[in-house]
Symmetry: C2
Subunit: 259 residues, 2 copies
Amino acid sequence: MNSIPIQELSKQTGITVRTLRYYDQIGLLIPASKTPGKHRIYSDVELRKLQQIQFLKKLGFSLQEISDMISSREWNWSTSLMNQLDFVHKEQRKLSQMESALRAVLHSIVVEGETSWAVIQKLIQLSGQDPSLKQSFRNQMFDEREVEMLSLLPNMNSADPDSLEWIALLGQLKRLMENSPDSPDVQRIVRRMDEKRLEHFEEEDSFVDKLWEIRKSPDQSEQMGLYPIEQELLEFMELAFHIYVTRKEEQQTERGETS
Amino acid sequence: MNSIPIQELSKQTGITVRTLRYYDQIGLLIPASKTPGKHRIYSDVELRKLQQIQFLKKLGFSLQEISDMISSREWNWSTSLMNQLDFVHKEQRKLSQMESALRAVLHSIVVEGETSWAVIQKLIQLSGQDPSLKQSFRNQMFDEREVEMLSLLPNMNSADPDSLEWIALLGQLKRLMENSPDSPDVQRIVRRMDEKRLEHFEEEDSFVDKLWEIRKSPDQSEQMGLYPIEQELLEFMELAFHIYVTRKEEQQTERGETS
DNA sequence: ATATAAGATGACGCAGTGTCACTTTCAAGC
DNA sequence: GCTTGAAAGTGACACTGCGTCATCTTATAT
């Protein structure tokens, strides 16, 4: 039997001395013996046991659970492993929700341009409402095919590049609101928005129109669970869009295009 | 100014009375006033503030952080949001590792048939080794194309149905070791294994052979980071396989097949 | 014998409540 | 105005898993 002083054990396992003493205190890992001066002495039996403890900790079990597992001779491993797996899944869901909420705030700040409590307030409104109401409103306004298309819409709390560009474009547009809606800067943004619209919703004009109507009504937007965009920005956007579309048609006419 | 007693506030927000008192104590949410008898009285200002606190808690911030955010007039939101997002990602990684380790134990128990500390010991060996060594050993034994194929191998800690069936088959085989390797039960399992091999590694005989050689050497298996399968089971499997292949060839010969 | 490293013990702190135990206040009915 | 029961108050301990002092003792090498 080789005797291992506490610091040795600490080095070999990476567990701090403090923790080893704590494990002794709660009876999880008791040293093989002690010197007359009460210094702890471990053996390789304890070394192995400590490694087991480390491993079980990596699985996320609490020291209490580990203690039970180690002491009990016949332990129902499958059950506790499955429970633990279940627990991990729940935690993962929580984290996903946190992630998505965090993104929503970050992106809202991009759109709003300024950081303020107003952003938080808006999101509190959104997150506070009953999701089933949202669902029924969506089903009421759109047919089945259109409801599916709704899931393709850019979203405040998603991280895909497509949504990100929409958010960025909105943010830029907002900062340009002091300019004229037919200024080149504004028109370039609107052109890009139109391109993106065509990419995803070409031939779906009626859907896009319906969506735009909802967007323009703050109440309806809220019921849909859409991030509230301020009225002025929407009006500015509509104006700029109108100008853009008109010019586009003129150019096509000049070039003698028929379609 | 409407005055809200503590229980009212509790009901409206879902925060317990105890927690509200604690928030008062740490100065996070101080009631608007108190009755002469020291009962707390809140107003809708505090109601809104409490909702903000709830929201920020959903983002995973600590009460201290929330306190800072609320009290400071000019807070750098973006930075703390990004930090928090970062933190969430780290937690997610931890959970993924836990999940995969948990699956490894669960699956190992299936293969071993019995639940025992030996399983844990094996996995401790595996998880304890330096992953870079594993990497270099793999690169040393296999060429580039083959290394890619390695990632298609069934794995103890994955949850895909393919891996699951391999695990299940191994577990069944182990329980049948007392039978003769040419018993129908055993042969059916070996046939299924062979089918699965063909599904994924048809035309890759040399790769499969090389892998099998490694499997048969406990040392090499360990260096590869493969779950240790006991020698007897491997030999039993090889024997059964040999019988299976021989019979298959005989049948083909009988049927007068040439290839 | 002495210096010094290593060890021991004990206590506080952290985060966010739950839970007891005991006292006081409020509001309402009489 | 008095009684009563509900609601509110305060204070303290518990939980998890250690980190981090501070203070005292032991082991070890010279």
